[in-house]
């Protein structure tokens, strides 16, 4: 039984939108969100601090960075280098990107925990070959209004200009997005009746 507050929005078959290129390898979670922002009590607003130390100098003046570039404003797909998201297990890193508007990340490879944390918040980490990534980055830099469509079902990517390439993904994660089971809360709530039965069968606390 689906919970009324968790609509089938939790099935994610494709992601579409413009892209933002950040072609660097080994981008770690400390760069994605500097440690001092972990003391915040909310993830809300965390998007403003994504890559903060690379985007702003010590006086808070903006530095040249794709996330500061108005050309890429509103982009939803991050084009990143290999081993993206390495470092700590903080859930704040994918949260910061998600809240900065990112809905999927394309890279040759991802750090394991980062990929798991991203999946848990509904942001697919999709793998693409370094060669195809290069082409894609060229396409997007030349024409930032290029629309990209990632199809998780058929593991393909196509651009509005007609270019296509295969993509790949951890099979477990892919299945979770296609089934809508990436959200553990929704998976658990699907058994709401059994949960209430269990609660009723166990001794109450007070």
């Amino acid at each position: 039984m689906a919970h009324p507050n968790l609509k089938n929005s939790s099935v994610i078959e494709r992601i579409t939108g413009r892209a933002i290129p950040l072609p660097e390898n080994d981008v770690d979670t400390d760069r994605i969100i500097p440690a001092r922002y972990l003391k915040f009590i909310t993830f809300e607003g965390l998007g403003a601090y994504a890559f903060y130390d690379e985007r702003f100098d010590e006086q808070g003046k903006p530095k040249p960075h794709p996330f500061n570039d108005p050309t890429y404003l509103g982009a939803t797909i991050l084009l990143a280098g290999a081993n993206f998201g390495c470092g700590s297990s903080r859930e704040h890193a994918p949260q910061a990107l998600y809240r900065a508007g990112i809905r999927a990340i394309l890279a040759p490879s991802f750090a394991e925990i980062f990929a798991g944390n991203s999946t848990a918040i509904g942001m697919p980490t999709v793998m693409v070959s370094p060669l195809h990534l290069e082409t894609l980055i060229t396409l997007v830099t030349q024409n930032p209004s290029t629309d990209i469509r990632i199809d998780l079902k058929y593991k393909t990517l196509s651009t509005s200009s007609g270019w296509t390439c295969p993509v790949d993904m951890n099979e477990g994660y892919r299945k979770a997005f296609l089934e809508g089971s990436w959200d553990t809360t929704a998976v658990l709530l699907a058994n709401l009746d059994s949960i209430h039965k269990k609660a009723a069968a166990l001794p109450s606390l007070w």
Binding site: L6, S181, T184, V187, L189, S194, K198, A199
Partner: protein, 463 residues
């Protein structure tokens, strides 16, 4: 079946598509540091807290221990406190805040209030939730996403761990405490030795311990890599819970049910480890993880005495701790003494430390703190005059909180200070100074070190 399997089966709701089990959480404990984002996540989805009557909150990590006047001097601490106050109010969750008489470290107040009890599953966004296993419960430390799931569904997805039975036989010698048992276990099996396991602590030396001491042992299961640790409930468990504010009033009727949570006599374990209690000594950590610990009579190991996999960490430890292989730990000078934390901030700890301190003075160069684990412990200790004993000896008597265990509040080490500490973690920077150094030991040993100004062997003292 083992106790773990019995409690697991009782609380299992379903097997999930990914093969994990969905486990009902009978008691969810919440504190100010790890909960705010989880509350935010369920609110964003418009989901209520499904079982507010099974959820209880307190504030412990960031509360100052000198003055609890609001607003707290640290604006971020104040913000966290205010967020928790808002969240519990909004969701109808019972909370024990400073001044209520029941506030304290979450793992101290659960048992104290009679919320922790045999045969239940407990979760909290804090790794030391393993503590509650002292009552024959299963206590799981969880992360933000799991807190969200428990708030919204009363359940969480988990894989069943294997069970290692750790049999501690014999009788503990004088001057050897529960803390020394668990530190010995971690030193022998390693900080990763318990990965994938639950630890079942058993046999005479464990049965002889009181509930507060069993809490100390189960508390540090996580330092040994085991997410869960437990002791089978017995008469002491029932006696402890009698008359507690939230414990059932008809305790004699529930007692047989509680006592039924035991491992079957002939059940098989994934592993069994035996430890002779008679041979144990007071333990002291010398390095930068809780496994780097030796008997107080021992010497700091040299790399060649260690397995190859531990040599790198040992090298790091020598340089951070400024110790040399072969050096004795006894006689090591200390700057700070800390008695408190969810490991050793209960009555038995304070009483034993007070017995040693009584009528003596701390060494002049030592800063010494006693931080009761809860407001109830604080009140009881004052009733017994323990605060006076410590104050007369030159110790500071603080109010309840995590304090210098992790230094998220103003209590912290300065520079390279060395702290004799009754807490559970000696990680670099843990006590608030990136260069600070921590020596873990029993509260009695901390008390003695504060008086002597250096690490001493409590067994040599007339107490």
């Amino acid at each position: 079946m083992t106790l773990l399997e019995k409690v697991w089966e009782l609380h299992k709701v379903a097997t999930l598509p990914n093969g994990q089990d969905q486990l009902f959480i009978a008691l969810h404990l919440v504190h100010e540091v790890t909960s705010p984002q989880a509350f935010q996540m369920i609110e964003e989805r418009g989901l209520p807290v499904l079982f507010p009557e099974r959820t209880f909150a307190t504030s412990d990590h960031i509360v100052p221990t000198d003055s609890k006047a609001r607003p707290f001097s640290d604006p971020l601490a104040e913000e966290m406190m205010a967020a928790l106050e808002r969240n519990v109010k909004k969701h109808g969750i019972k909370a024990f805040f400073p001044g209520s008489g029941y506030q304290g470290i979450v793992h101290v107040i659960g048992p104290e209030l009679g919320l922790t009890r045999p045969g239940i599953t407990i979760a909290c966004g804090d790794s030391h939730t393993s503590s509650h296993g002292a009552f024959g419960a299963l206590g799981f430390g969880v992360g933000t996403t799991q807190i969200r799931d428990i708030l919204a569904t009363g359940t969480m997805a988990l894989s069943k761990p294997k069970v290692r039975r750790i049999e501690v036989t014999g009788i503990l010698p004088k001057g050897v405490y529960a803390k020394d048992i668990i530190m010995t276990i971690i030193a022998r099996l390693g900080v990763n030795g318990g990965l994938g396991y639950a630890y079942e602590y058993a046999e005479s030396a464990i049965q002889a311990l009181g509930m507060e001491e069993r809490l100390t042992i189960c508390n540090m299961s996580i330092e040994g890599g085991a997410r869960v640790g437990y002791v089978e409930p017995d008469e002491k468990t029932i006696q402890y819970l009698r008359g507690r504010p939230f414990a059932p009033k008809n305790i004699d009727e529930v007692a047989p049910y509680w006592l039924s949570f035991r491992s079957d006599p002939n059940t098989s374990y994934d592993d069994v480890v035996k430890i002779e209690g008679n041979t144990l000594e007071p333990m002291v950590s010398w390095g930068i993880n809780p496994g780097q610990a030796i008997p107080v009579s021992g010497r700091i190991p040299s790399p060649k005495d260690l397995p190859p996999t531990e040599r790198d960490t040992a090298e790091k430890a020598y340089s951070h701790m400024k110790v040399t292989p072969g050096e004795p730990i006894e006689g090591k000078k200390i700057d700070v003494a800390f008695i408190g934390s969810c490991t050793n901030g209960r009555m038995i700890d304070l009483r034993e430390a007070a017995r040693i301190v009584k009528g003596r003075k701390k060494a002049p160069h030592v800063r010494a703190y006693v931080v009761p684990g809860s407001e109830q412990v604080d009140a009881q200790a004052r009733k017994e005059g323990l605060d006076i004993i410590f104050r007369d000896a030159g110790f500071e008597w603080r109010s309840a909180g995590c304090s210098m265990c992790l230094a998220m509040n103003p209590d912290r080490l300065q520079g390279e200070e060395i702290c004799a500490s009754s807490s559970n973690r000696n990680f670099i920077g843990r006590q608030g100074s990136p260069k600070g150094r921590t020596l873990l030991m029993s509260p009695a040993m901390v008390a003695a070190a504060a008086l002597a100004g250096e690490v001493v062997d409590i067994r040599k003292w007339e107490i």
